[in-house]
C-alpha cells in the first residue's frame, strides 16, 4: 500500500518506537516566542540540562509586542520582562533571536517561511497551535505545549503517537471574491471544530494546487480550528519557486538535490486515508462567522441557523445575534487585517486593490498589521501604504496584535470586529469583544462601508476586478 505525504515525512523522522507506546520523533526546526518558552528554559535550568541543538532553534518576539512606537521601551512592565527574558535566554543558550525592531522580526509563522527556514519534508514545532501554517510547504508542523518545548530543548525530539490521516479534497474553480480564507472557513463550517481531532490533515485537489504559497499558509494555519494537529499540502513547483533564493533556503546544487527529494514526497496514488471529505469549489462563497467558535460560519448571503442547543444559544447570546437572521447590513466599528492567518503581502495587496480610490467609513477603526518587518517593508515599497494612508487606514507595525488581546491592541467590550484572524472565541480580541472572522477582502469592504455587505453582489457590478485565490 502506498504512503501518504504525512507518512513519508513522519517515517523519515522516527528515531525509535517504544513497544506498545509512542514513537520518538526527531524535530528539524524548533521555533520559539516569548510567551510559551520561559517556563521551558526555567525547567532546563532547574534540572541542569543543556539545550541540545541550539542551532536548530529560531526565536522571535511577536505575541506581546506593541504595534506602535516599537523603537520606544515597552510600557507594560510584564510584557517588557517577558521579552527581556526571551533575549536573555537566547543569549545564554546561543539561540538566534529576531527581536523587536530586527529586520527579520515578525509573527513566528510569517517570519520563518519568508526566510526560507520552513522547507518541505521537515518536522517543525513551536509552542503555538498555529504552527500548522508551515504544513503549506509539505512539512509536518504542529503546535506543542511548554513541557514539550522543554523536551525539544533537551533532546530535539518528542514522544508522540502517530495521528490518523485525513484528506480534504476541493476540486473545481473558485468564484470571484472567494479567497483561501473562505475556503478554510467553509471547510470548518461543514465538518465542525473537532472532526480533525486525532488526525493530521492533507488538503488536496485543484483549488489548493492552484493556490499561492500565501493562500496555502492561510488554509493550513486554520487546521487546528477543526481540531487537526496539522494540515499539509503536497510540495510542487509553486513551493520550490517560493523557497528558491530565500535567506536560509538551500543554494545551488544542494537546492537541486533537495528539490529532487521533495518531489518524492506527495501522497502515492494508492495510499489510503482513515477519513476523507470532498467539496466542490463552486459551492464556496465569501464566509463570515456568527458565533464563538470558527465552525460557526455561514456564507455572506446566508442566515444564522436555527439550532436548539444550549451551547449554540450561549454563543448567539454572547454575539447578540438572533437565529435566522442575516449578517448583511450589521454596523461594524472595528476591522482588523492581520494575524498569522492573513498578514502576508498578498493579503495587503487584496485589501489595497479593493480600497484604492475609496475612503474608510467614519465609524470604523481599522488596524492593518503586517505579519513581519519584511511584509511591512514590501507594503511601503509597492506603494500600498500610500493607498491605505489616502483612504484613512492606519498601517501599524508587525506583531500578533488584535488576534489575541495580549498586547495593547484590544477590541472594546461589546464591539463587533470583522477580523482576518483565526479565532472568534469569547473575549479572544478583548473582554466582551465580538469577533466575526472573514477574508481580507470582506474585512476591507466592511471598513469602507462601515457595515457588512454582500461582496459578491458588489463584485458583479465591477467585472473588471478579479479577486481570486491565486
Amino acid at each position: 500500500m502506498g504512503k501518504t505525504l504525512f507518512d513519508k515525512v513522519w517515517d523519515a523522522h522516527v528515531v525509535d518506537t517504544i513497544p506498545n507506546g509512542p514513537q520518538i520523533l526527531y524535530i528539524d526546526k524548533h521555533l520559539i516566542h516569548e510567551v510559551t518558552s520561559p517556563q521551558a528554559f526555567n525547567e532546563l535550568e532547574e534540572r541542569n540540562i543543556p539545550v541540545f541543538r541550539p542551532e536548530q532553534i529560531v526565536a522571535t518576539a511577536d505575541h506581546n509586542t506593541p504595534t506602535l512606537n516599537q523603537h520606544l521601551p515597552i510600557k507594560d512592565e510584564l510584557s517588557r520582562k517577558q521579552l527581556e527574558q526571551l533575549s536573555d535566554n537566547c543569549k545564554k543558550n546561543n539561540i538566534t533571536l529576531y527581536e523587536l525592531g530586527h529586520k527579520y522580526n515578525g509573527i513566528v509563522h510569517v517570519m520563518a517561511p519568508e526566510l526560507g527556514i520552513t522547507q518541505p519534508g521537515m518536522t517543525i514545532v513551536c509552542g503555538d497551535s498555529h504552527t500548522s501554517t508551515h504544513g503549506a510547504f509539505g512539512t509536518i508542523a504542529f503546535g506543542i505545549g511548554t513541557s514539550q518545548v522543554a523536551q525539544v530543548f533537551a533532546s530535539q525530539c518528542l514522544l508522540l503517537t502517530k495521528p490518523k490521516s485525513l484528506r480534504v479534497t476541493v476540486n473545481g474553480e473558485l468564484t470571484n471574491g472567494v479567497l483561501p480564507k473562505d475556503v478554510i472557513l467553509y471547510i470548518i463550517s461543514k465538518i465542525g471544530t473537532n472532526s480533525g481531532t486525532g488526525y493530521f490533515c492533507e488538503y488536496a485537489g485543484d483549488v489548493f494546487e492552484n493556490m499561492s504559497m500565501e493562500g496555502r499558509m492561510t488554509v493550513c494555519n486554520m487546521s487546528i480550528e477543526m481540531g487537526a494537529r496539522g494540515g499539509m499540502i503536497a510540495p510542487d513547483d509553486t513551493t520550490f519557486e517560493y523557497i528558491k533564493g530565500r535567506k536560509f533556503a538551500p543554494k545551488g546544487e544542494v537546492f537541486d538535490q533537495k528539490v529532487a527529494y521533495w518531489k518524492t514526497l506527495p501522497t502515492d496514488d494508492d495510499a489510503v486515508f482513515d477519513k476523507e471529505y470532498h467539496f466542490d469549489a463552486a459551492d464556496i462563497e465569501p464566509m463570515l462567522t456568527y458565533g464563538t467558535n470558527p465552525g460557526m460560519g455561514i456564507k455572506v448571503s446566508g442566515f444564522i441557523p436555527e439550532t436548539d442547543d444550549a451551547s449554540f444559544e450561549k454563543a448567539l447570546d454572547y454575539m447578540n445575534f438572533k437565529k435566522g437572521e442575516t449578517l448583511i447590513g450589521k454596523p461594524i466599528n472595528y476591522v482588523f487585517i492581520g494575524s498569522c492567518t492573513n498578514s502576508r503581502i498578498e493579503d495587503f495587496r487584496i485589501a489595497a486593490d479593493y480600497i484604492k480610490g475609496k475612503q474608510k467609513a467614519a465609524n470604523v477603526t481599522a488596524w492593518l498589521v503586517p505579519g513581519s518587518k519584511q511584509v511591512e517593508a514590501q507594503i511601503i515599497e509597492e506603494g500600498l501604504k500610500t493607498i491605505f494612508d489616502d483612504a484613512g487606514f492606519e498601517l501599524r507595525q508587525p506583531g500578533c496584535s488584535a488576534c489575541l488581546a495580549m498586547n495593547d491592541d484590544k477590541i472594546p467590550q461589546g464591539e463587533y470586529c470583522v477580523s482576518t484572524s483565526n479565532r472568534n472565541f469569547e473575549g479572544r480580541q478583548g473582554q466582551g469583544a465580538r469577533t466575526i472572522l472573514a477574508s481580507p477582502l470582506m474585512a476591507a469592504a466592511t471598513a469602507v462601508e462601515g457595515k457588512i455587505i454582500d461582496i459578491t453582489k458588489q463584485l458583479q457590478h465591477q467585472v473588471s476586478h478579479e479577486y481570486t485565490a491565486v
Binding site: D16, N20, G21, K81, G145
Partner: protein, 195 residues
Amino acid sequence: MEKFKTLTSTAIPLDIENVDTDQIIPARFLKATNREGFGENAFRDWRFQKDGTVNVEFVLNQPQYEGPILVAGDNFGCGSSREHAAWALTDYGFKVIVSSFFADIFKGNALNNGLLPVQVTPEFLKKLMTAIKANPPTKITVDLVAQTIGIDGSDHTESFVIDAYKKSCMINGYDDIDYLLSKKDSIEHFEKTLI
C-alpha cells in the same frame, strides 16, 4: 510530577461544550514567566462579571459544588496550545477532567502536568452531569490503575482508554524528558542518518 493512582471525590459539572483554552486562561494573563499562580485567573471571565464582581451563576462559584474533578462538555480544551490552561486548572485544584472529547494538545499538556483527562462516552457524561446536578455530594471514583470511572453508590461505571506509556508516567510521576534523555545515543546516531 505528582503521582496519580485513584481518586474518590465530589465533582463540579461544567455543562458547556467547546470550552477553549482562551476561556480556561485568557491571553492577558499569559505574561508570567513561571508556572505558578495561574489558578487565580482560571475561567476568569466566566467567574467574574465585567465589573469585577463574582458571577454567582457560574458553576465554580456555586457553593454546593466542590472537588478536584471537573466534569465538562464535549471537545474540552480546544484552541490555543497554551499549557497555561493545564497549569491554571491544576493550580486551581483540579486533578481530573472528565469529558466526552478532548482536544489533542490540551490532552497532552494535561498529562504532562499530572492532570488526568478521562474520556467517557457521551451517554456516561450525561449520567455524570445528571447525577451531580441532582445531588452535588455525589462521589465519583477515578481509578487509573484499573482505568475505570464510576458513580459511587450506583452501578454506573465505565472504563476509559489511556496510552500505556502515559499511564505509567502518571502512576510513577515520571515525565518525558527523563525518557528522552536516556535515548540520547539513539538520537545522536539518528542525526547522522539525516539527509
